[in-house]
Amino acid sequence: MNINTNLKAENTYDAIVVGSGISGGWAAKELTEKGLRVLMLERGENIEHIKDYDTAMKNPWEFQHAGRLTEEQKSTHPVQKRDYPFQEANAKWWVNDLECPYTEDKRFDWYRGFHVGGKSLMWGRQSYRFGQANFEDDAKDGYGSDWPIRYDDLAPWYDYAEQFAGISGSKENWPLCPDGNFLPPMDLNIVEKTVKKRIEEKYNRERIMMIGRVANLTVPHKGRGNCQYRDLCSRGCPFGAYFSTQSATLPAAVATNKLTLRPYSIVNHIIYDKDTKKAKGVMVIDAQTQQTMEFYARIIFVNGSTLGSTFILLNSTSEAHPNGLGNGSGQLGHNLMDHHFKCGASGDATGFEDKYTYGRRANGIYIPRYQNIGHDKRDYLRGFGYQGGASRENWQDDVAELSFGSGLKEKMTSPGKWTIGLGGFGEMLPYYENKVYINHSKKDKWGQPVLAIDCEYKENEKKMRIDMMNDAAEMLESSGMKNVKTFDNECYPGMAIHEMGTARMGKDPKTSVLNKWNQMHEVSNVFVTDGSCMPSIACQNPSLTFMALTARACDYAVSEMKNNNL
């Protein structure tokens, strides 16, 4: 064997971070700030903050297709086009599905963005803590494996993450959705304020409604500008007003002079050293040249997104780990979860015709989970929260059928009616049989095998959806909304882009992949801190939890290195 020792030295770092999205960016920041020389590997292209947000300042008329997709885009993005996030204005953030296919035993919509920043550039920015009960549910009802940590373990790290990221929101004293370190909240509009008051009165504050807690700055924060209320976040923010790798964690990591960022680096597998029983590095395929190369480090953080990370681990086989790295438990790839949503109710608000909005608020309302708490008992486990909001419509529905002419134009250019919608976001239970595995019969553009996904909602989720509609209708009706209608627009796993699980944390190495520090039970220098680590998913948007878990794991990893345990 030919070993180029110089090359080996050049390609050796203290830590490798695989992935540059929300959790990868945090890992790079924390590890470099603690003095480690870090290589961050990103499979896609580089995106420079502001400079590469091509469409951020474009006016509506500067888009060729009025924001819509072409037949050509639909043919290269057959999965990404299944739902609304992929649009003309942000098309470059979404993967060409033909280059990186996967197979679906059952329909699963896998939305991906391969570029520096990952989904931190396109995320919904809703940021909620998990509550104490969320960490106890698995133990209580027996689904999934018990969380190896409790709320108190994570609370200081939530504080830390919020303080740096900049989360705006209001304090509500709601244990299932604990208060945090917030910037001033955005405003509710007149209809939302009214509905909030009526709901909280009617339900005796056993249900509450608040403005969304969102990673958009309401005041300047750590050198970043505040939100300008354009509601164009998914194009990238030229003011740096929402948290992304580019606006927040990457500049912090770069400032240490200890970060090397390598785009176009697809991590194919983690290299296992059977003598040390540790990982010694990663094998990378250069996405542009197809060349393979190796990089080495003392510790490896895997932050390639839930299914991206799990693919790498499953693909890292060796004599000692024939079924994937650290998979002695057989749980790797299993317990895939996503929130289920796209159902709820909407109605019209009357009596506010003299009011309108100014500015475009990239945020809505939030009703945190109130089911299966205290006296509230349901015929399913766990529960759901609501997101939604009120707005004054632009396109009136009282114009005559298929009308045309100046009358139609008049209608379309004057403010329409106020409407309000509540959409549920429900917890999905962890089921062992909802899984991903490697499908060797198909290859991606780089010759790698692909992931197969076999995942479905079950009875608990289906029952919950009925309440997600009925409770919303009941709350809207009791708040005086008119024309209340329920909806269920059909949801498939993956659509919430909150896919989690598949490399869960747990106390017992026999039933889990990671320990309470997000460290692999079986390979002590490998940490996984993206969504794959989650033993259960609550019903809150999860990214803030990934940030807190990542910062916590980095702190532990570095202290273990200093104590020579790693």
Binding site: M57, N59, P60, W61, F63, Q64, H65, A66, R68, L69, T70, E71, E72, K74, S75, P78, K81, R82, M186, D187, L188, N189, I190, E192, K193, Q228, Y229, R230, D231, E353, D354, K355, Y356, T357, Y358, G359, R360, R361, R392, N394, W395, Q396, D397, D398, V399, A400, E401, L402, S403, F404, G405, S406, L408, K409, E410, M412, T413, S414, P415, G416
Partner: protein, 194 residues
């Protein structure tokens, strides 16, 4: 759902919103790309006809220019070519030819040469035919009806995303800088362009 409710919902959809076909193709992307088929070349005469048709759907009014000046004569064929599946594309094109021919046989002149009253009357007569179908999808509709539905949809989409539509017909603020959720609606306030 009771039948009456169902009918009411269809009526609502037929009203302000655009057709189910365009919703599917442009907003939900739920169609799958089909075989590309023959591409259509819209001639300068076709573009003029489409601009004149669009100008009847959204005419100039006292404070804002109409669809023709907003460039709909170029926008509609571009969208039909780039964004619609083969089936809708060819039905639209065929319907456009029928629209042109029917004007000549009914009014003894080109659509473009007709007076505004004649144009309104003519387009209105086609609208009546479409409404009788009680559907807001172009599936199974004749090419002429498909032309009317898609041409009207694209006029609305194109006009309200054009500079004229955003800044003259509606009110546009590029960088609002703040949010006020209880602003007083002033007389004459246009709806916001987004």
């Amino acid at each position: 759902m009771k039948r009456r409710d169902a009918l009411k919902n269809v009526a609502l959809l037929l009203g302000g919103a655009i057709s189910a076909t365009t919703m599917g193709v442009l907003f939900k992307s739920c169609t799958n790309p089909q075989e590309s088929g023959e591409q259509i070349n819209f001639s300068p005469e076709d573009r003029k006809l489409l601009a004149d048709f669009a100008d009847i759907v959204i005419p100039a009014t006292k404070d804002s220019a109409g669809a023709k000046l907003a460039g709909l004569g170029e926008f509609i064929p571009m969208m039909i070519t780039d964004c619609y599946p083969e089936k809708e594309r060819s039905a639209f094109y065929k319907g456009m030819q029928e629209f042109r021919q029917k004007a000549i046989s009914d009014y003894k002149k080109d659509f473009s040469a007709m007076t505004v009253e004649e144009k309104n009357h003519y387009v209105g007569s086609i609208r009546e035919m479409v409404i009788l179908q009680s559907t807001n999808s172009t599936d199974g509709l004749s090419p002429l009806k498909t032309f009317f539905i898609l041409g009207r949809d694209l006029t609305l989409i194109g006009y309200f995303s054009s500079e004229i539509g955003c800044t003259q017909a509606r009110a546009y603020v590029q960088v609002p800088g703040r949010y006020d959720g209880s602003a007083v609606l002033k007389p004459g306030q246009k709806s916001w362009a987004t």
